[in-house]
């Protein structure tokens, strides 16, 4: 059996013919295996969904409990056989519940990474490199210019700015699943004990993170329906990136816009967004993590998907690893 018989790309997404299932399909299908809860990977309306407990819960929070016909919990590290194909979920370190999916048949193992990162994250289980024949890697930050600094350093920049500009509300744009909770957890690790104010879109997910044992400290809604009082000057407000430029942000005292994203590495992107304080904090692997992960899996073949495929393919060629871009439609850039 060659690798393309085991997994191939179809308009709906990555498909396994012998197991008759899709991984992260972008359209409704009969059977879907889902790596994590971000909406471009986890869509509603599938016949059956297999995912980690947390991912199933997050989909339930986002789409309502009837988001799929049947749900099956995948336990990390436990192998399940689906129509003769051995399937195992392994932690991916991307967001709470995120997993890589290993697919194995006739002695051939392919690992689909989903989205992943290698740097430490107090809000989710760490990525584990899985030995495989073919590694399907994401490439969101697949250019050698993307090097994410230590997130603790970025958080210290935010705290410094808060001391320099204590009269300004610091609004941190952060994607509502994963990034927002990570930023909050990092602030707590850095010793910030004040109440953090959150946009309404984050409330349920923050509560869910706390339920699963990720402490986030004192949180308050940033805005309350029918009430005009805004958080005190000098507070930290965490909101989805789209809310920052929105009229929503006007109610705060002289807002200072911060944005937590790997894209903030590039000055032009920072300027385009009108960000005053960029925080280079990403839930995706940077270039060094991507290349290290390819090596760690020992894969002899790499398929590169959603992102800047060509540079990573080039790197594989330079390092004697066979590689090709895998074109899958429908996935978005981080927080864009």
């Amino acid at each position: 059996m060659n690798a393309r018989q085991l997994l191939r790309s179809r308009p709906e997404g990555l498909y396994c013919p012998s197991g008759d299932f899709f991984i992260d399909p972008v359209r409704p299908v009969e059977r879907a295996l889902i790596t994590h809860g971000h909406s471009d990977h986890a869509r509603a309306g599938h016949g059956a969904v297999m995912a980690t407990r947390e991912t199933l819960d997050i989909m339930g929070l986002r789409y309502g409990t009837g988001f799929a016909g049947r749900m099956q919990e995948a336990r990390l590290g436990e192998t399940v056989t689906v129509n003769g194909v051995r399937v195992t979920f392994h932690p991916a370190g991307h967001v709470l519940g995120s997993a890589q999916i290993s697919v194995e048949a006739n002695g051939l193992r392919i690992v689909a990474s989903g989205d992943y990162k290698r740097s430490r994250d107090p809000t989710c289980a760490a990525f584990e490199p899985i030995t495989c024949d073919v590694f399907i890697t994401e490439a969101t930050f697949g250019l050698p210019v993307f090097t994410h600094p230590d997130p603790a350093h970025e958080i210290s920049q935010l705290l410094t700015s808060l001391k320099q500009f204590p009269e300004r509300t610091h609004i941190v744009g952060a994607y509502s699943l994963g990034k927002a909770q990570r930023v909050i957890a990092l602030l707590r690790e850095a010793g910030y004990g004040e109440t953090i104010y959150i946009h309404g879109a984050l409330a349920r997910l923050c509560a869910y993170y706390e339920e699963t044992g990720v402490p986030l400290g004192p949180l308050q809604p940033a805005t309350v329906e029918g009430k005009a009082d805004a958080p005190p000057a000098g507070a930290i407000v965490v909101a989805p990136p789209s809310a920052m430029d929105d009229r929503w942000s006007r109610r705060f005292a002289d807002p200072l816009s911060c944005f937590a994203s790997g894209w903030m590495r590039i000055r032009q992107r920072v300027r385009q967004r009108g960000v005053e304080l960029p925080l280079i904090i990403s839930d995706h692997a940077d270039w060094d993590e991507l290349t290290a992960s390819i090596r760690d899996t020992g894969a002899s073949e790499v398929w590169v998907t959603h992102g800047r495929e060509e540079a990573l393919v080039r790197w594989c060629e330079l390092n004697g690893i066979s590689a090709r871009p895998l074109h899958l439609a429908g996935y978005e850039d981080e927080a864009e």
Partner: protein, 532 residues
């Protein structure tokens, strides 16, 4: 180095002046000597490393990085220094990153032959943002939107001294400025300015306000034309010649023609203009050809000669005359200027007037297109540094106005980041029966907060296209918002499609009442251009 790199990154993204001041003050308060002194030198353009050439960066990076990966990256990032700083292979851990003083020391010692090795070694030792700062520092031009003037204001606030004291001392100081910082921190004596031909703080005027007219008695004041050039101070002390801008920046290097003619002993205050005082006074756009240059070509000197129109003197023949009243200084100045080269120096003439009405009449009908108003100077006033209220007033000609149509709006920064607050406007051009709008300028102030809210709402409701932070707004003959735009002058421009560029444009009124097709045509603007 990291602190300096962080400062630069913050400054470039902080739009407000007060925000920038706070960041710079914080830097001086928390970074030790001698690093902060080199940081100060970097911000004020006081460091120069002639051995380091921008072209060597590409060569250096190509020796270390796959060219295909470099091209992909450069394409994406769009800036060479930034791409190099990010893609440079990190050596990872071990030695501590060098301090700013260390970076400056290594760059300064580089010779032409070992400069690439020095630069490569520095980039090896720094973080990505440290590398970016080192490249900018080494190749000149930090471009963080901070003038030397703003930095001096930060120093003044940091040391709780008057900014004029700093301007006066500045040219006797050298990096890393340790005695200077000691004085600012009240740990040491005020540095003595040992340099010859120092800058002396200039006297500035207030714009005259309606309420001032009741207190201005015409017999107490002398009047002069306000010429549209730049304010300069020409100093020659014991043969050391310096030309300073109004904020004390030494601009001698760009004006060798004037410097050569400065064969006097004294410090003169006046307007730098292009032309020949006996024949022709050039426009501000002529003068711009000569501004912000480090060197000047022979053609430039021939086509755009400069001269100085003198209106005051601070010292004459080794005598400090600042305490004398205006009329006495003026008498001495008149005699002094008559001895200078008539091609390079003349006297700013007094305007005879009996009443303010008569002066107003002259202000509105100036005898020369390069005049932008009149100055009123109290006859008994000494020469005082700064902007004292009362002795000097500027009374500018009324601004030009034009009715233009809003075409694009861009989101602002900081407080205005949720508002579309920067407006590009155009006027009609082409055949009258089928005109098109051509952009003629951009303005981001002049309106009230309430008007800003209305404009923002209008932009959001009339968007026809989006380009990142910019929105195109519906603007055609039957639909569009007319803005009355005020501006100080107009010049020809090859960079703008319309062929004209406005000076100091701002929104003076929102003309909700005016139909778009009644906005002005480009010909109206062209008629306002100075004769070429």
């Amino acid at each position: 180095m990291e602190r300096f790199a962080e400062l630069l990154d913050r400054l470039v993204l902080t739009p407000s002046r007060n925000g920038k001041l706070r960041l710079i003050i914080d830097y001086f308060s928390t970074v030790p000597d001698p690093d902060r002194g080199y940081g100060l030198a970097g911000l004020t353009g006081g460091l120069d490393f002639p051995a380091i050439k921008p072209a060597m960066l590409r060569t250096l990076v190509m020796e270390r990085v796959d060219p295909v990966l470099f091209d992909y990256s450069y394409d994406y990032v769009g800036d060479l220094a930034e791409t190099v700083s990010l893609i440079w292979p990190s050596r990872g851990g071990g030695t501590a990153a060098p301090t700013l003083s260390e970076v400056v020391r290594r760059l300064a010692q580089a010779s032409r032959s070992d400069a690439p090795a020095v630069m490569g070694g520095l980039l090896d030792d720094l973080s990505p943002s440290g590398r970016f700062a080192a490249i900018k520092l080494a190749t000149g031009g930090l471009r963080v939107g901070v003038s030397a003037r703003l930095t001096k204001q930060a120093l003044a606030a940091f040391g709780e001294v008057d900014v004029h004291e700093i301007e006066e001392l500045w040219h006797g100081l050298a990096p890393p400025y340790e005695p200077f910082f000691a004085w600012l921190e009240k740990r040491g004596p005020r540095p003595q300015n040992a340099a010859l031909a120092p800058f002396r703080p200039v006297m500035l005027a207030h714009a005259v306000a309606e309420a001032d007219f009741s207190t201005i008695r015409s017999e107490d004041y002398a009047a002069e034309w306000k010429w549209d050039g730049i304010r300069v101070q020409a100093v020659n002390q014991g043969g050391v010649r310096r030309l300073y801008s109004r904020t004390g920046d030494d601009i001698s290097g760009a004006f060798p023609d004037l410097l050569e003619a400065m064969d006097f002993e004294g410090a003169l205050d006046g307007e730098l203009l292009v032309g020949d005082p006996q024949q022709r006074t050039g426009t501000f756009s002529d003068l711009q050809q000569r501004l912000n240059r480090k060197t000047v070509s022979r053609t430039m000197l021939r086509d755009y000669p400069v001269f100085m129109r003198c209106y005051d003197a601070l010292t004459l023949d080794k005598r400090d005359i600042r305490a004398l009243p205006y009329v006495e200084r003026r008498e001495l100045l008149e005699a002094f200027v008559s001895r200078l080269s008539p091609e390079r120096f003349d006297l700013s003439p007094n305007i005879a007037f009996a009443t303010l009405e008569e002066l107003d009449e002259k202000r509105c009908n100036p005898l020369h297109p390069v005049i932008e108003g009149v100055m009123l100077k109290r006859k008994d006033s000494p020469y005082l540094p700064g902007r004292p209220k009362g002795p000097w007033f500027k009374w500018k000609r009324d601004p030009y106005t034009v009715d233009a149509v809003l075409m694009y709006a861009q989101r602002g920064h900081g407080k205005r980041s949720s508002f579309y607050s920067d407006y590009t406007f155009g006027v009609w051009s082409g055949p009258p029966e089928d005109p098109v709008l051509v952009p003629v300028g951009k303005a981001y102030f002049g309106f009230t907060d309430e008007e800003l809210r209305q404009l923002d709402k209008y932009v959001r409701e009339n968007t026809i296209e989006r380009f990142g932070p910019v929105r195109a707004v519906r603007a055609d003959r039957n639909h569009g918002l007319v803005l009355e735009v005020a501006f100080e002058g107009l010049q020809r421009s090859t960079r703008h499609k319309s062929g004209v560029a406005m000076r100091f444009p701002r929104i003076s009124r929102l003309r909700w009442d005016k139909p778009a097709h009644e906005a002005d045509r480009l010909e109206t603007l062209e008629a306002m251009l100075p004769p070429s």
